[in-house]
Symmetry: C2
Subunit: 407 residues, 2 copies
């Protein structure tokens, strides 16, 4: 008998019919001789409707975050009750628990709280009594009883954290895709589902455009050694297992190819190469809540240098505005220039560590295909380049082929 944590997202529980399907799947898991904790999200669309209501009663003002959490937490509370009563109607023992009832304690940072502690005694007790436990994702409470929510990807985090707390044998993240693919199958039709991937590879793929899961849940799983499976709620295919890396994983040089469109490059030129300059620039960008990536600075030859970074193209105007006071401060001759129409291409694999020449192979394959590289940035297990956006699909195919990912 295994102890299994399953997580079903908003689309999987988006209608009463889908909730019934999820209930059937949970029931099958139980009938196969397992104990089950199922984490569910708010029905898709519900959160947006609640946010609309909040906007209507607060007008110009931002809704207060404490109350936003109280409001949004009703979304998952609705789903847990419906899922548990559906199982009850099927003759099965099942009880719902809110995050607070399940002992999920967080800090007090409303709308993006971090889990600080889980007291799983109540969950264990219910399981020992033969119950299926239906747990609200995305939410918890502070030590003094305030309702909190965990922010984006919060339900995945609930599942992984609860799996760690109750020492589950398996954690299954059900979603609307079959798992993690070697590349987006809409771009590269030969893309294969990856059977097994390491936490680090999953993190690098998530951060470079493969949007199966939020990085924070993978980081949490890595920290607590929770092996989990990403799989589809629409079929019974095995998914992708995400786990600590093994020796055998290293034999694969590149695990997958990620791509991210609609990027822009911002270059600040003529910067005096003095300590603190980059700090000033990126402090200003960060204060404007912009997500920058691929920061590149070349070695200075003349005492001045160029610093480039990428942002989403919709954020260019914001970035220029945020930089304008800094530019004035940096003195004469400093200019800023932005260029959109670019995309990012990344290859990821822990095998890179022990295989040299991956970058060379990548650059050569792209060059042979007539694709020009504009920026390059590397980490231990990832190489990212920018290319013209209208060449990104071709570039992804070339990479997928060059590293033999179709198998």
């Amino acid at each position: 008998m295994s102890l299994i944590v399953q997580k079903y997202g908003g689309t999987s529980v988006g209608t009463p019919e889908r909730i019934l399907n999820v209930a059937k799947r949970i029931l099958e898991t139980k009938k196969a001789g397992n104990r089950v904790v199922a984490v569910v999200s708010a029905m898709s669309g519900v959160t947006n409707r609640l946010i609309e209501l909040a906007d209507k009663v607060t007008g110009e003002a931002e809704p207060t975050e404490r109350e936003m959490d109280v409001l949004l937490a009703t979304g998952e509370q609705t789903t847990i009750a419906l899922t548990a009563m559906a199982l009850n109607a099927m003759g099965e023992k099942a009880v719902s628990l809110t995050g607070a009832q399940a002992g999920i304690e967080t800090d007090g940072v409303h709308t993006k709280a971090r889990i600080s502690n889980i007291s799983p005694e109540g969950v264990h007790e219910l399981l020992n009594d033969g119950n299926i436990v239906i747990l609200a994702g995305f939410q918890g409470k502070t030590p003094d009883g305030k309702i909190t929510t965990l922010g984006r990807g919060g339900s995945d985090l609930t599942a992984i954290a609860m799996a760690a707390a109750i020492d589950a044998d398996l954690c299954q993240i059900y979603t609307d895709v079959d798992g993690v693919y070697t590349c987006d199958p809409r771009v590269v039709p030969e893309a294969r589902k990856i059977d097994e991937i390491s936490y680090d590879e999953m993190l690098e793929m998530a951060s470079s455009g493969t949007k199966v899961m939020q990085s924070r849940s993978v980081e949490f799983a890595k920290k607590f050694g929770v092996t989990f499976e990403v799989r589809s709620s629409l079929n019974n295919n095995p998914g992708t297992i995400v786990r600590e890396e093994t020796m055998s994983m290293e034999s694969v040089v590149i695990r997958g190819v990620s791509l991210e469109r609609a990027q822009a490059k911002v270059t600040i030129s003529g910067v005096n190469d003095l300590p603190g300059t980059a700090g000033k620039i990126f402090g200003a960008v960060s204060d404007a809540n912009l997500i920058v990536d691929m920061i590149v600075q070349n070695v200075s030859q003349t005492g001045t240098t160029d610093i480039s970074f990428t942002v989403h193209k919709d954020d260019v105007a914001k970035a220029e505005k945020a930089l304008s006071p800094v530019l004035a401060e940096l003195g004469d001759g400093v200019g800023v220039e932005a260029q959109d129409g670019i995309a990012k291409l990344s290859v990821v694999g822990i095998g890179m560590r022990s295989h040299s020449g991956v970058a060379a192979e990548m650059f050569q394959a792209l060059s042979e295909a007539g694709i020009n590289i504009k920026m390059i940035s590397t980490s231990e297990i990832k190489i990212t380049v920018t290319v013209a956006e209208d060449q990104i699909d071709e570039a992804a195919k070339v990479m997928h082929d060059a590293f033999g990912l179709a198998g």
Copy 2:
């Protein structure tokens, strides 16, 4: 500085615009120098939508009551968050509390739990910090943390119980009418709003068709001596104060006239006048969850007797079905007969205790108006009769006039 508990029902918070109006009214009460706890219901329509969802996921089976409570409790949780954030957006300190967070403990009878204890320390603390407290009506938790709901009229009960627990100076029940009237103004246009009424009168009026509040909330108020006011959320008119009776209240013989339509009379005839017979009959009716009223049995002359009672006309078939096994048991010659098309008329007043002849006056006035009385039943402060349903409006006018209620 007074401590005021206000309660706003589902219609008063039925749209974002109405929530804003309620928030303004709460704010005015605070600005007038008071401390405020506002109890709010689910937005009108929400509860029905949740019940529909529950029906869809449970099909033929009844939704389990534990999960129904988890589901329904989201209704008030949504309203408290919206009301508190509306006040926050107006620049006011306000925080929401669910029933559980406010320390409202109940027994474990899901969907109709009874309040067993309130720990008001948290509410006091928030008030002392200068907050308006927005409290979810209708809900509480068991000592071990299960979510419960209080059943019909539960939000009124929350307000009155919290007013008792925090020793509030005033408890205002906001509704869509100006208060309790001497009779339904749609029937008797001269009906007046009653300024002051005793708990007992309010209870008798509630139980005989004046549906301003559920009896259980009034009973709770009586038990704990909570004076409360029923008033409109649509204007600033003073409402009706409900309180312990005073000497001066007795000078009014009749406080009001209640009426209830769509009734039926069920008569069981030829019953042997033996101990336990009535118990069997009403045991069977009660087991079928039927609400009966006006049980009348005449003194037996021949060893057999007739027992009559009234039920809502829609419940006649159920009553006959419930009685059928009992009739067989009671022996030959016992028959059951039902007649609908009747209505109940009640006059209520604690002044009756010290004024004789009220019944005679009532019967005579009805007789003079050509209205035939079918059944009569009396309590210490109420006289109820049944009349033909098509004569009930006329009967109510005659009574209102006979006892000078138009003032």
